[in-house]
């Protein structure tokens, strides 16, 4: 039998228990908008019974623990999905930027396709138009071989074309550099997160080994794991003491509370950084790093490198083919042997500087004695329709169109993947939120429950107090 004091104690303990419930509810409500917060619940259990002559009698309730509402399987899925999202987001943002650098866009004024018999105003902004202009200028020159204005237009358009090649090449190089910087930043961020997770492992295991509650630390670590998963495809293993071990592509980075390995960038010689682990040596890059780091490297070494190489092939072929015809031509004064283009690729292509001040030295004639001959101008103009063996047997403009199309395919794939993966991630986070997210309605309902239970226990204290007074009153005879 508890007696008056035992019951008073039961009431006091009940008030404390309900108060804990109010505190946990308050914590949940305070973190309703905190990213990565996992709602907590107080686990209230009945206190141990005591045996009495009439059987076991309850001693009230106590708060046994404060637990997180978490689904570890779902957290694992989200972590894996972060890596896929990171990969495609990195590809998308890298290639989007490259698309801007390529500057091949269509523009035009509004006109309905259903009434398209009217003249079309669609134009393209990049190399394609400049290539067309260049060859058209040779056509114009072929119709007026001695015309100085026609020569000036041609030289000016050739300069514009060469500058566009230079500019695209330089922009694409900058994109490569920028991706290398992003990769370095990601490596730094990953190392920082790895170190942070090892530190949190230490704090969590210390807290849990002393019977403490590490819920908020667990949230913080999960956030770090998700952030790290965006950067690389990580594999995690739970230890018995609450630590999480991390490995990337087979190499362990965090073991218990220790950082056993770090990521490093490695320059294989061409300036295009790769990522290696400090443990396996400086020249063995990861085969499958995953996440945004892999996305950056794939965009840089795949689509961007292919684009650069195609633009270079186009420039080289143009220089070679045009010069081989042009150098056999004769200027108005009968001079021959010079080249129209200098350089050998998109980076170095330029227009023979002597032409700029002297358009008459343009070699359009096929005869030293016939300045009005147009043989060379016509042959160069006809190159526009000739398939080039160095360009997969396509014409210059056809090859460039294919290059732009291939690049567009890669970016479109990245865009579609980002869209799909975002949908998957939204679905997973909604599921996670339904388990771990805070609902104000639910918390307010819980709060009312705790409040009323608290009030009831307080009423019990008042009642016991009154009963105690009554008991003392018997003795004093009042």
């Amino acid at each position: 039998m508890l007696g008056l004091f035992g019951t008073l104690n039961l009431a006091a303990q009940s008030m404390q228990t309900q108060m804990t419930g109010v505190e946990v509810t308050g914590q949940n409500l305070a973190n309703v908008n905190t990213a990565g917060y996992t709602r907590q619940t107080v686990d209230i259990q009945t206190s141990p019974d005591i045996m009495t002559g009439i059987g076991p009698e309850g001693t009230g309730a106590e708060a046994a623990s404060i637990q997180q509402a978490v689904d570890t399987l779902l957290n694992g899925q989200i972590q894996g999905q972060q890596s896929v999202n990171g990969y495609w987001n990195a590809q998308q943002s890298s290639l989007q930027s490259v698309q801007d650098s390529l500057d091949e866009f269509l523009s035009g004024s509004a006109s309905s396709s259903s009434s398209s018999s009217s003249s079309n105003t669609t134009t393209s902004s990049g190399l394609s138009t400049l290539l067309d202009n260049f060859f058209n200028d040779f056509q114009s020159l072929a119709t007026s071989p001695t015309s100085i204005p026609a020569r000036q237009t041609l030289i000016s358009d050739a300069q514009t074309l060469a500058s566009a090649f230079n500019q695209i090449n330089s922009q694409l190089n900058q994109e490569t550099q920028s991706l290398n910087s992003s990769l370095s930043n990601d490596v730094d961020s990953a190392n920082s997160l790895i170190s942070s997770i090892a530190g949190l492992n230490q704090e969590i295991s210390t807290a849990q080994s002393s019977g403490g509650n590490a819920n908020d630390l667990l949230d913080e670590r999960q956030q770090d794991l998700n952030n790290l998963a965006q950067l690389a495809d990580i594999k995690t293993t739970n230890d018995a003491n609450g630590s999480i071990d991390i490995s990337i592509d087979g190499s362990t980075f965090v073991s218990g509370t220790q950082v056993v390995n770090t990521l490093q960038t490695y320059n294989p010689g061409n300036g295009n950084l790769l990522v290696v682990s400090s443990a396996t040596g400086a020249t063995v890059p990861f085969a499958n790093l995953g996440g945004s780091m892999q996305g950056i490297m794939d965009a840089r070494d795949g689509t961007l490198a292919t684009l650069q190489s195609s633009v270079n092939a186009l420039a080289s072929s143009l220089i070679t083919q045009v010069n081989s015809l042009y150098s056999t031509g004769y200027s108005l004064a009968g001079a021959t042997g010079a080249n129209l283009f200098s350089g050998s690729n998109a980076a170095t292509i330029g227009v023979n500087s002597s032409l700029i001040n002297d358009p008459s030295s343009l070699q359009a004639s096929g005869s030293a004695t016939a300045s009005g001959d147009n043989t060379i101008a016509l042959e160069i103009a006809e190159l526009a329709d000739a398939s080039q063996s160095g360009l997969q047997n396509q014409t210059f403009s056809g090859y460039y169109g294919q290059t732009v199309g291939n690049f567009g395919d890669a970016l479109q794939t990245a865009n579609n993947q980002v869209s799909n993966q975002t949908a998957v991630m939204n679905m997973l986070t909604t599921q996670q939120s339904s388990i771990s997210g805070v609902s104000i309605d639910q918390e307010m309902t819980n709060l009312l429950g705790f409040q009323q239970a608290y009030e009831a226990s307080a009423e019990l204290v008042t009642t016991i107090n009154q009963m105690m007074g009554d008991t003392l009153g018997i003795k004093s005879g009042t």
Binding site: A110, S112, S147, E382, Q412, N426, G437
Partner: protein
């Protein structure tokens, strides 16, 4: 399913982002008239459009080439007409002078022939008004094709050709070239027939006119009525051949011009099909997206305003 409070905000943000992007894209399509603007919008359509634009640009250039050639052909035609008149006049003089005439009359005829030579030389030294190049100098268009030399009495002693017998070809369609130009002289036996002198037709207008002039001055009536008349007939036939050739070329140019225009129209259609916005469809989609956007804002804002807190005293 249990719904956490942040689910509303997350869902709203996600929906607003998706719908905003959709509306932005559609609005862009309507205002620019293009459904494809960047390579990633539709890589296949982009590639097709770039190729079509290149073909269209080439067709426009062929059109420009044809216009230039048509102008050149017209200039040549007017020279040919004048030359026909000159050869006819020269033949008339030869015929009239073949009868019994006094030396004074013959000298007068000779002066007329000298004048005809000068006129003809002036005509065949014409330039194309559009390109500024000599029409009958072959490809050696840097200098005046014909130079007339006269003696102290003003009689023409020789007309020298400084051009060559080659002509330029110009592209009027993919791989299709044509030449409008006529060389002043071609004694090579191949290539385009010379306007004044050609070894195949026996034409040699200036030398024949000089011979006539000289025969008139010397009173060589038999030479005038036989050799000179026959030679001038050859010259006239040669000019007539050139007129016919010019007519054929002009017909060919007109056909090529029509073809370039129809090709250009077809390419416009192709470009439009590949890259233009179907405005009606885009407007309908834009309205749908706007309705969905408003609905998302409306419903979520209503739900977000309500919680149990509103009803607790």
């Amino acid at each position: 399913m249990r719904v956490a409070t942040d689910s509303y905000t997350n869902a709203l943000i996600s929906q607003i982002n998706t719908l905003s992007a959709q509306m932005n894209n559609l609005e862009n399509q309507v205002t620019t008239g293009l459904s494809v603007q960047s390579p990633s919008d539709n890589p296949g359509a982009m590639e097709t459009t770039l190729n079509d634009l290149a073909s269209q640009s080439a067709q426009q250039q062929y059109g420009n080439n044809i216009t230039t050639l048509q102008s050149q052909a017209n200039s040549i035609y007017s020279v040919l007409q004048s030359l026909q008149t000159i050869t006819s006049q020269a033949e008339s003089i030869a015929t009239e002078a073949g009868g019994a005439n006094s030396q004074t009359d013959l000298t007068n005829y000779a002066n007329q022939v000298t004048s005809l030579i000068q006129q003809a030389a002036q005509l065949v030294n014409s330039k194309d008004p559009e390109t500024g190049q000599y029409l009958f100098g072959g490809t050696n268009s840097g200098q005046q094709p014909f130079t007339v030399t006269t003696d102290a009495n003003g009689n023409v002693t020789s007309v020298t050709y400084q051009g060559n017998s080659s002509v330029n070809q110009t592209e009027i369609g993919p791989g299709v070239t044509v030449s409008v130009a006529v060389p002043g002289v071609n004694n090579t036996g191949t290539g385009p027939q010379g306007l004044i002198t050609d070894s195949r037709s026996g034409a040699d207008l200036f030398n024949h006119l000089i011979a006539l002039q000289n025969d008139l001055l010397s009173g060589n009536a038999s030479a005038i009525s036989t050799t000179d008349t026959q030679n001038l007939q050859n010259d006239e036939n040669n000019v007539t051949y050139q007129v016919a050739y010019n007519g054929n070329i002009q017909t060919r140019l007109n056909t090529a011009s029509s073809f370039a225009t129809s090709q250009s129209t077809a390419l416009n259609q192709a470009i439009s099909n590949a890259s233009s916005t179907d405005v009606v469809q885009a407007m309908v989609q834009l309205n749908q997206a706007q309705t969905a956007y408003e609905a998302a804002l409306e419903t979520t804002s209503r739900v977000m305003q309500i919680s149990l807190v509103n009803f607790l005293g």
